[in-house]
């Protein structure tokens, strides 16, 4: 059975790893062995290489995520791995506030990898309408338009990055990428902006998206 790793911070105030824990486990356990960790220091490229997918729900980038971990993730992906940040796990913000690095990012390399940069201010938890933009993409298999309650995260999309936007959400008068994916080196990445509550991860449609994404990411070639 292939293994999937999910990393994040159990003790975080806003986005603890307990939020996705049960829902992700439920979504993937029939096909994958799912492991969860907060021990970032142990996550070397060699350690990551035993997982066919690495899901990221980290919040405290400035506190916990070292350049060594960033290097491990980049090395893991370019050599064939699948990196899948979820919700604030793709923000890569330095939330420690002790020193603001350039661009306000704790790790520019991972923003470059997913081809998008989190825009720090966002509207509150709200009803969002999701529409399928790329129905032929394997991650969209069995997914049709749906509605959820979540935080409307907005990303600044890298104009040079190549990606497939699979889902968009509609909020107020705008529409924004909600799920996108692409290849990077010999590996792949995907990003899902939804994921603020435990309840969301329990929804069948979200679990289907997670399973589709991991299936696609773990498929070689």
């Amino acid at each position: 059975m292939q293994k999937v790793l999910v990393f994040g911070d159990y003790g975080d105030m806003f986005h603890p790893l307990t939020t996705p824990h049960d829902g992700v486990q439920e979504a993937l356990e029939r096909k994958y062995k799912v492991l969860f960790t907060s021990e970032y220091a142990k996550l070397t490229a060699q350690e990551l290489s035993q997982f066919c997918a690495v899901l990221c729900y980290a919040d405290r980038w400035g506190d916990s995520v070292s350049p060594e971990l960033t290097a491990a993730i980049v090395s893991y992906v370019v050599n064939g791995g699948f990196f899948f940040p979820i919700h604030f796990g793709g923000a890569f913000m330095d939330t420690s506030r002790r020193q603001i690095p350039k661009n306000g990012m704790a790790t520019n390399e991972l923003a470059m990898l997913i081809g998008a940069r989190f825009m720090p201010a966002h509207a509150p938890y709200s009803p969002l309408t999701l529409t399928v933009e790329a129905p032929d993409h394997p991650i969209a298999k069995g997914i049709s338009d749906f509605e959820v309650l979540d935080e409307p995260f907005v990303y600044d999309m890298d104009p040079f990055a190549e990606r497939d936007v699979i889902l968009r959400y509609h909020f107020a008068k705008g529409s924004y990428p909600a799920l996108w994916a692409g290849s990077y080196g010999n590996g792949k990445y995907a990003y899902l902006c939804l994921g603020h509550t435990e309840k969301l991860f329990r929804q069948k449609i979200i679990q289907q998206i997670l399973l589709n994404a991991v299936d696609w990411g773990c498929e070689k070639g």
Binding site: V78, Q99, K102, N103, M105, M112, D158, F160, A161
Partner: protein, 234 residues
């Protein structure tokens, strides 16, 4: 002594004189090894060097087209390797991953003409042409050479520092043609000058290449305080 690998392409278009010049610029400060791309393109091989110098050529073109360059080069730099890319080596940034690695993207070269290169600076009023007075630019004076003018897009998400510009009629502050960035545990530099061996004989450019390699190998570093946007916090 830090070990530098110069990628020696078998491309006949490329003058061996350029390699001779690079060799003479760096030989007193570094241990130099030259190898073809095919012989050295693995992380295990690259990992033995402190900096890799890439110029251009057909072999590089092929490794961009078949993408064989991406994984070993990114793994090498991400884990602490240094990378200096010169002139047409920018062709590698046709691949998104490598434009992220280098922090910018090439947009083409023009026919050779007289170009004046200047280093960006922060003036006494704090008005910045670059983000900082970079250590790679230490002691470098304006220089004029016959060269191909290159155009570039810098990466929006890159924390690059501008280190070289060319004078240009439309913009008093010049146009960016050299920059550097930290990438994970490694460092990358791009310098546009280098059309002919003559360019590499310019004394200022020679100093700049030497400084660039000293920076990519970690011999010199920018003071951290230059990047504290809000030093009063915390």
């Amino acid at each position: 002594m830090k070990r530098i690998l110069i990628w020696k392409d078998h491309d006949k278009r490329l003058s061996p004189e350029i390699y001779e010049e690079l060799h003479s610029i760096l030989k007193d400060n570094f241990e130099l090894i030259s190898a073809s791309l095919a012989d050295s393109l693995s992380f295990d091989t690259l990992g033995a060097y402190d900096t890799l110098v890439i110029y251009g050529g057909e072999e590089l073109r092929r490794s961009v087209e078949d993408r064989s360059l991406v994984a070993p080069l990114m793994t090498y730099v991400a884990n602490g390797g240094g990378l200096l890319v010169l002139h047409e080596g920018i062709m590698m940034t046709e691949l998104t991953e490598l434009s992220n690695l280098l922090g910018g993207k090439g947009a083409g070269f023009e026919a050779p003409l007289q170009i004046t290169y200047v280093v960006p600076y922060v003036d006494p009023l704090g008005r910045s042409q670059g983000q900082v007075d970079h250590v790679i630019d230490d002691g470098i004076q304006t220089f004029t050479v016959t060269d191909k003018k290159g155009w570039f897009h810098v990466n929006l998400f890159s924390p690059f520092d501008q280190i070289l510009r060319f004078k240009c009629e439309d913009y008093w502050f010049g146009c960016t043609c050299g920059w550097c960035q930290q990438y994970c545990l490694g460092r990358t530099v791009y310098l546009s000058p280098g059309y002919s061996p003559e360019v590499f004989r310019n004394a200022e450019y020679r100093k700049m290449i030497r400084n660039a390699v000293r920076w990519t190998t970690g011999e010199i570093s920018q003071p951290e305080s230059d990047y504290e946007m809000f030093p009063h916090m915390g």
